[in-house]
């Protein structure tokens, strides 16, 4: 991996009146890296992405994209940027292919080059048959693929993906993932936000967990899981007071959510063995620890909305 820095943010801050959406965060993204921003709603992920993408002015701090300051050189940066937004903003006045052709004009691509790239991207995103369809005739998955195709028209060096697969069915989601992996393999730097831990685990070299505008944790997904949670999680439900007492007395990391216990097992195998031996009738599920466990353990289970 090249050591060139794609993105560097220092004390990046966004305030909306009194509300602090992003609170002086620092992070760096290397060229070719795929970094995921995780966090509950209102954590500041989208605000961060928007500032980095020159879409929203910084309240304080600095951000540089490939060495260019976002406040001073927005046009230059946006030439190199692909943005796949969270909410659909495809142009409903045009067909699928016309959406791409009109968008290519914003980058001043010559007509024949725009047509060539449009054809290429329609094939890549499996939208060929829908080239002449109006946007409203497209399914959710097709719209997302068109949004991604649109973000790739200028052959970006940095791709900003804001919740790229929210609301998609498994087939559509896997196709999106496949394309994003392919782009990454081609050397495109990716910054994505997501609510899906599985997505982050599959796509990201590194994840940054945000809450309340601050960075809580940062690291490679597997390392984070092992460091914060361990290998396994033993979920117990319909637990009696006796079981709860036992778990509390063991010095394990665990969480109680109503009648359910999440017991985190650093080494693996220990919790299950103990519970099995002492409470054979206890209903339980043993599974691998995931990023979702890290997320819930660190960001808490409280609803944000």
């Amino acid at each position: 991996m090249s050591a060139e820095v794609a993105l560097e943010a220092r004390k990046l801050t966004k305030r909306y009146d009194a509300f602090v959406a992003v609170d002086a965060i620092d992070f760096t993204v290397q060229t070719g890296e795929c970094v995921g921003f995780l966090g509950p709603n209102g954590a500041g992920k989208t605000s961060t992405v928007r500032m980095v993408g020159c879409l929203s002015p910084l309240t304080a701090g600095t951000a540089q994209v490939f060495g260019f300051d976002v406040t001073k050189h927005p046009r230059k940066i946006k030439e190199m940027l692909g943005v796949c937004p969270q909410e659909d903003n495809l142009d409903p006045d045009f067909t699928t292919s016309h959406n791409l052709l009109v968008f290519a004009r914003y980058f001043d691509l010559p007509r024949d080059e725009a047509q060539r790239r449009t054809d290429e991207l329609l094939d890549l995103m499996q939208l060929r048959e829908k080239a002449g369809a109006r946007v409203e005739e497209l399914s959710g998955g097709m719209k997302r693929r068109l949004a991604l195709a649109r973000a790739l028209l200028n052959r970006p060096r940095l791709l900003l993906l804001d919740e790229p697969t929210t609301g998609l069915d498994p087939q559509a989601r896997h196709l999106m993932w496949q394309r994003i992996r392919q782009l990454k393999a081609d050397g495109v730097t990716c910054l994505l936000t997501t609510h899906y831990m599985e997505e982050a685990q599959r796509l990201c070299d590194r994840v940054i967990l945000m809450d309340g505008g601050k960075i809580l944790l940062e690291g490679r997904p597997q390392e984070l899981i092992e460091r914060e949670v361990g290998r396994e999680v033993c979920e117990l439900w319909n637990t009696t007071e006796e079981v709860k007492q036992f778990v509390r007395s063991q010095g394990w990391i665990f969480e109680e959510v109503e009648d359910r216990l999440y017991v985190y097992d650093r080494e693996g195998g220990i919790v299950r063995k103990e519970i099995e031996a002492r409470f054979p009738a206890q209903e339980r599920l043993l599974r691998h620890a995931s990023l979702e466990d890290v997320f819930l353990l660190r960001a808490g289970r409280m609803l944000r909305e």
């Binding site: 046009r75 142009d91 016309h98 968008f103």
Partner: protein
């Protein structure tokens, strides 16, 4: 403020033109039909009751007086309704601007593109109306060609007024207020359908402050082949008011769009 506008603003204008072109037959119809309907209604109907009226010391047929008023109103309406309703839909419901500013275009380019497109709608409408009106022999050539630059100038000022409205209106229903308090009275009381000198002095003073009064004076001059007295004052009004309104409307729109 205007420093950040680049030639890429035309890309936004082109986008709007593309939409217009996909339904151009339907778009051409209203400006062609509107004057015809007015001419029929006022020529065959009401104009007969009125006969001739006195305009700057000359007696002219009411129809000849009124038709330039209809064109002037169209110059206002086509620009104003484009940069209010249509721009608002693109801005809020379609999120078109959000998408555009992820490209090398800045918010200022988007605003400028919309502003220019609003004026283009006035130009297209006035051009088509000129053809229809000429077909009825109600335009004096070649002076009526002055309607073209006047439609651009008038279009630019009403387009800016529309952008101001859009920038300040939280919802699309919010347009009702400025439309019924400002635009509709302007439509009726700007010397469009009757000469201003029959109004009391105070009403004349108000009318002279309104941009449509000046547009309609000049447009009528172009159609009749005879400029009104103080035409230079009307030109001056438009040349001074337009840049002021443009700067204000750009400021307000930028405030609305940048978050």
């Amino acid at each position: 403020m205007m420093r950040n506008v680049s030639s890429r603003a035309w890309r936004v204008w082109q986008r709007d033109l593309d939409v217009y072109r996909t339904t151009w037959k339907l778009n051409f119809l209203p400006p062609l039909l509107e004057p015809v309907l007015y001419i029929l209604a006022f020529g065959l109907g009401m104009g007969k009751l009125i006969g001739t009226i006195s305009y700057f010391g000359e007696d002219i047929a009411y129809l000849r007086f009124m038709v330039p008023g209809v064109v002037s109103v169209a110059i206002m309406f086509w620009a104003y309704f484009e940069t209010t309703y249509a721009t608002f839909i693109r801005m809020v419901y379609q999120r078109t601007f959000e998408a555009i500013i992820t490209t090398p275009l800045l918010v200022e380019d988007v605003i400028a593109g919309e502003w220019l497109w609003g004026a283009t709608k006035s130009l297209l409408a006035a051009g088509l109306m000129l053809i229809a009106v000429s077909a009825f022999g109600l335009a004096s050539w070649p002076s009526c060609l002055l309607v073209i630059p006047l439609a651009i100038l008038g279009g630019l000022i009403f387009s800016a007024l529309g952008l101001m409205t859009t920038a300040l209106s939280p919802t699309i229903e919010g347009f009702n207020l400025p439309i019924f308090l400002a635009i509709f009275p302007m439509f009726l009381f700007s010397g469009t359908f009757f000469p201003l000198d029959i109004l009391p002095l105070w009403a004349n003073v108000i009318a002279w402050l309104l941009p449509l009064t000046h547009v309609s004076l000049l447009v009528r001059g172009a159609f009749l082949g005879k400029l009104p007295p103080y035409a230079w004052a009307s030109v001056l009004y438009l040349l001074v008011a337009t840049p002021i309104l443009v700067v204000v409307s750009f400021r307000l729109m930028k405030k609305r769009l940048v978050k």
